[in-house]
Symmetry: C2
Subunit: 663 residues, 2 copies
């Protein structure tokens, strides 16, 4: 057998596993695996540095299937090369509840799935974080421990999505030359030929953003190998435009959108078997080909062993720091550092915006936790995301800790996910909360994957003032709280901000959003308490002088208003409690007793938040009083806006007393 025959048969193993699995599931996307099998075979047999039996080896090359609908390509590769999570049985149960082989590759379902993809453009945009993470870790730990490539397979859809431009511009700017993207240039999208909707010269576009880019025959193994070899020695990121045929080998559907997203049907598959002279029953891979694939899965064994040798011989402190960071564990003194800082705050009682409190907390955190990587989508001075420790990462110096992401909220969020998934880093990035809408698809994926990306969202209400309703979040707190497995923190002062940051860093399997004010706020937690009270999500901040007639729940900047309303109500003889609610999600995880006690039995329950009511009924019931927004904000000074929208202590007192007097 010539090496070309061997290549073809190995590639065909991918093609038939993919066709057969989609056919059995009666659901899925055979076209991409059939068209890209050559690219994948060349990559996984000749270039990718991996060890299928040790899939978490930190210095492995990463392979990211950005065109996630082609999941059977990845599952086939993982099975063929011998990853233990993906057995033939898993392939046979493609797209069934309980299988690791979900419709789209899901991070955590199996080793070898580096990130969750499917929503188009996300994998490509994640890859910028992966490739940047590699460079940052390389700068910290040297070539001996960190030196790997990030390979991406992206489709036409990935490149049409706007986030692709954010990603490629950022990668080009940062000269991430170990990032290598294959574009599956098959001219077909779901609606038909790509030319129905696009005539972009993608190669020229990537070049305009600082990439190497060129066209190749994406089904010619030697052309693929040559292009990869060149890309590995480039000083820029590389995009290889691989001309392929979608559904290659399907007699009538190849090259058409009919091969994209549905089972080919028995006749087409039979035709493909004939075309490829593949005389094996469904799911059967001939022994010699399976052996060849299993050998490919072992090509990295030596490299991995050598790497382990180098790690073992490395300076003990360096090694233990590397291992700590890769494990995701915080430094041992982290809690003590935060507690000390809280003591200082209790003494200082700063009256600053929580965005400033966040900067102060980060100054402490970034000093204690060397793996944090900060950044902002061109709002550094407004998001207060930069501290004394975080200098700019540039293409000349990856040994720093701050990324100017540009006006690219979506690309930033996707890159944060990539940095986080790479391992060894804790990444946070800032923008205005209103623009969380731009970043939302990636924020959702962080939640679905269960990873520790941290989103710093300042200017969290009408309190931002004159920029007006285009910039004023109203529905965003509710919309972010709606995302499962996403902690939305809205601290009320510098103490809660420190506590919320502590919690965000602790949560290894939940991303966090910190909602922070533009405007100054007083310290409401005046007495030092070692315990992180925000951990409970909601807690009694001020007790009533007697049996509570009123309980006021509030978050963030409105806690100050709640306390002022309480004071007035108490003066008028109405015992009133205040409950601070920095995090709905953590409150929901408390015991029923704690929740019941915290909500309490006051006949009048009020919630104050400069956002919409949605979600607050949980605390105040459907007949509770809500002081907040019912529509969009307005452009004006903060002094104008809070009274304009009736979010004041006076309005709260008035509403409470109207109810107390039975109106």
């Amino acid at each position: 057998m010539t090496s070309r025959e061997q290549h073809d048969r190995m590639a065909n193993a991918i093609r038939f596993l993919s066709m057969d699995a989609v056919e059995k599931a009666q659901s899925g996307h055979p076209g991409l695996p059939m068209g890209c099998a050559d690219i994948a075979t060349v990559l996984f047999t000749r270039f990718l540095k991996y060890d299928a039996k040790n899939p978490h080896w930190p210095d492995r090359d990463r392979f990211i299937l950005s065109a996630g609908h082609g999941s059977m390509l990845l599952y086939s590769l993982l099975y063929l090369t011998g990853y233990e999570d993906i057995t033939l049985d898993q392939i046979k149960h493609f797209r069934q509840v309980g299988s690791r082989t979900a419709g789209h590759p899901e991070y955590g379902h199996a080793a070898g799935i580096e990130t969750t993809t499917g929503p188009l453009g996300q994998g490509l945009a994640n890859s910028v974080g992966f490739a940047l993470g590699e460079r940052i870790m390389n700068a910290a730990f040297g070539n001996d421990l960190v030196d790997h490539y990030t390979y991406v397979l992206a489709g036409d859809g990935c490149l049409m999505e706007g986030v692709s431009q954010e990603a490629i511009a950022l990668a080009g700017h940062l000269k991430l030359n170990k990032l290598i993207v294959f574009w599956d240039n098959n001219n077909i999208s779901i609606d038909g030929p790509v030319s129905l909707a696009d005539n972009t010269d993608q190669v020229a576009r990537f070049q305009a953003s600082g990439w190497n880019a060129s066209h190749i025959d994406g089904q010619d193994p030697e052309a693929i190998a040559y292009a990869i070899e060149a890309a590995r020695h480039s000083d820029k990121p590389t995009m290889i435009a691989c001309k392929t045929t979608i559904g290659f080998g399907a007699p009538t559907k190849a090259g058409t959108n009919k091969a994209h997203g549905s089972p080919l049907g028995a006749a087409e598959i039979a035709g493909a078997r004939k075309f490829f002279s593949w005389d094996y029953p469904p799911f059967e891979v001939p022994a010699d080909i399976l052996d060849a694939w299993r050998d490919a899965g072992k090509t990295g064994v030596k490299a991995r062993a050598d790497w382990e040798g180098r790690l073992a011989k490395a300076d003990a402190q360096l090694r233990s720091e590397f291992e700590r960071r890769i494990s995701g564990t915080l430094p041992a003194n982290f809690d003590a550092v935060i507690t000390d800082y809280k003591k200082k705050l209790a003494a200082d009682k700063p009256k600053v915006a929580t965005r400033k409190s966040s900067e102060m907390a980060l100054e402490i955190i970034n000093g204690a936790v060397p793996e944090t990587i900060g950044g902002s989508a061109d709002l550094t001075g407004s998001n207060n995301t930069k501290t004394s420790q975080t200098k700019n990462i540039t293409s000349d110096d990856y040994g720093q800790r701050y990324v100017h992401y540009g006006v690219r909220e979506h690309g930033m969020a996707a890159a944060l996910n990539g940095l986080t998934l790479h391992g060894g880093l804790i990444a946070y990035g800032g923008t205005f909360m209103c623009f969380s809408d731009y970043a939302r698809p990636s924020m959702r994926l962080a939640s679905l994957m269960g990873i520790r990306s941290i989103f710093v969202m300042t200017h969290d209400s009408i309190g931002l003032g004159e920029d007006g309703p285009t910039h004023q979040p109203v529905e965003h707190l509710a919309a972010l709280r709606a995302i499962p497995n996403h902690n939305v923190f809205r601290p009320a002062d510098a103490v809660e901000t420190a506590e919320c940051w502590q919690l965000a860093l602790e949560q290894e399997k939940t991303p966090s959003t910190l909602a922070l004010t533009r405007q100054n706020l007083p310290t409401v937690r005046n007495d030092f308490v070692a315990e992180n009270l925000s951990r409970q999500g909601a807690y009694q901040l001020a007790a009533a002088s007697g049996d509570a007639a009123v309980t006021i729940f509030a978050s963030g900047s409105e806690v100050e208003i709640a306390l002022a309303a309480r004071e007035a109500l108490e003066k008028h003889g109405h015992p009133t409690r205040v409950v601070s609610v920095p995090c709905f999600e953590l409150f929901d995880k408390q015991s029923a007793d704690y929740r019941k006690k915290t909500i309490g039995n006051a006949p009048i329950k009020i919630a104050i938040e400069a956002g919409i009511r949605q979600g607050w009924d949980h605390f105040i019931g459907t007949d509770g009083i809500f002081i907040g927004m019912t529509g969009f904000g307005a452009s004006g000074t903060i002094e104008q806006l809070y009274p304009h929208f009736g979010i004041t202590a006076e309005a709260t007192v008035k509403a409470a007393e109207a109810r107390l007097h039975g109106e």
Copy 2:
């Protein structure tokens, strides 16, 4: 005075009004108006076709300030040229509550503000819809009635946002040659030099997407004029990269990020006055310059009068159709057409997915309403957005009614807004509901502007099956309902789908989202009722056999489950009502009596929706039973998934009976 001196002084009037207004407000962005005053002056004095006293003239050229933070540029122009909405007093009350001169330009606040901008990239992406709308209307009504340009001023931020790539790729593909974009190429973003985050060759990038693009000195009036003249005769859209100095004229802040987003301060403004020899007090424009500007505001008077003459002489039917469409009024027979269709449905009782019901409704609507423009972000066959009347719009044929937007959900949503704002068209576009996240920033702006964009969101729950949690909306209904002034419709069958489409088309000041299923559903509205019952947002679909022990609220695909649960509960002797809830927002607008009656007094209230609970407490109270999702979905067949997540009639009955038995 030479014409250059005249130009300079006219441009300086913009500069000083902008500096002075920002200074008085102590808030705002002086840098862009100072740098772009020359571009604006050339455009508004020599090219733009407008009549300041008749600002709604349908055939005016459009000017879109995509870099919306430079709002004082636009307000200055509107005041100087004599738009009545923007008086000097408005300029003096820049960014104050109640002023038309909001922080960012807000559609509806003043004539001449063609779209709301501020969130970066949106204006540029809207402009694709404006320019396409012009071509579509031109094809329908001819050069005599529709023949105008769309000019856009975009900043570095607009071009860094991913949506810009979606927009320019689409505009290039459609060869929208009457779209002319000025890029304020000032090298400065908020964090500092653009080079901190970007090295993109923007001219090359636009060229790669099928645009003309070239560099000019953006402060040389003749270079600007020459470039505009060339652009107006191009067969492609044009991007003019205008090299400018941000804050031009400010002695120490010009050319730096200090001129971007804060008042310059008295010393800088005094320095600028000296630099430009502008010896007038704040807000004063010398009479000769104001006169010259007011004359510019009248340059379109003749063109407008000529146009009115042509309209008056046009074929009477064409004229009345043009006027009807521009007014936004539906055809007179629209209601009758829908009522007839509902009669047919009551007879046919189709058992189809609501995405198919939507296609059936659109087949009727597109036949009756010639101004609808359909489209999809590359999911035409899945979104069912195409009907027999809507053939593809191409660069060779704008006289059609369907846009293949490509895999560009965000660009599509922004283009829908532009098509809608252009006037004369009703635009809808489809994607999977999960990817409403990608489109969300533009969907929010549609809501803020109060315009009739229609978003068709199919595959609206775990019911989509095998594609898995990356594609299964869970939080999206809640998140979309959170947006103020946005009607989220989730019809239960073909009849409700027709009603919801009718409502979406009727709502001239509220955008709509239609949430539609992939899976088949039975007709639940079996008897013909002429009245649009969905108009109330929620209504009793099935009465209880006696005093209701249980009320079940449900939307969309879960109404079928609610009816099955009701049947079982009735059989077990528990009188049970079912309330169908196609639209929360419309229900909230009903009378208190209607709402009270519809919610009713049943001791047990249950809501069923294959999404999260958030928002449903409004119907069932905090102690109501919710049958739905609490986290992300899974990949599997629909037959597996509904039982897997406990969303079944059996689970509903069990939960009800447990409560009935006091468990």
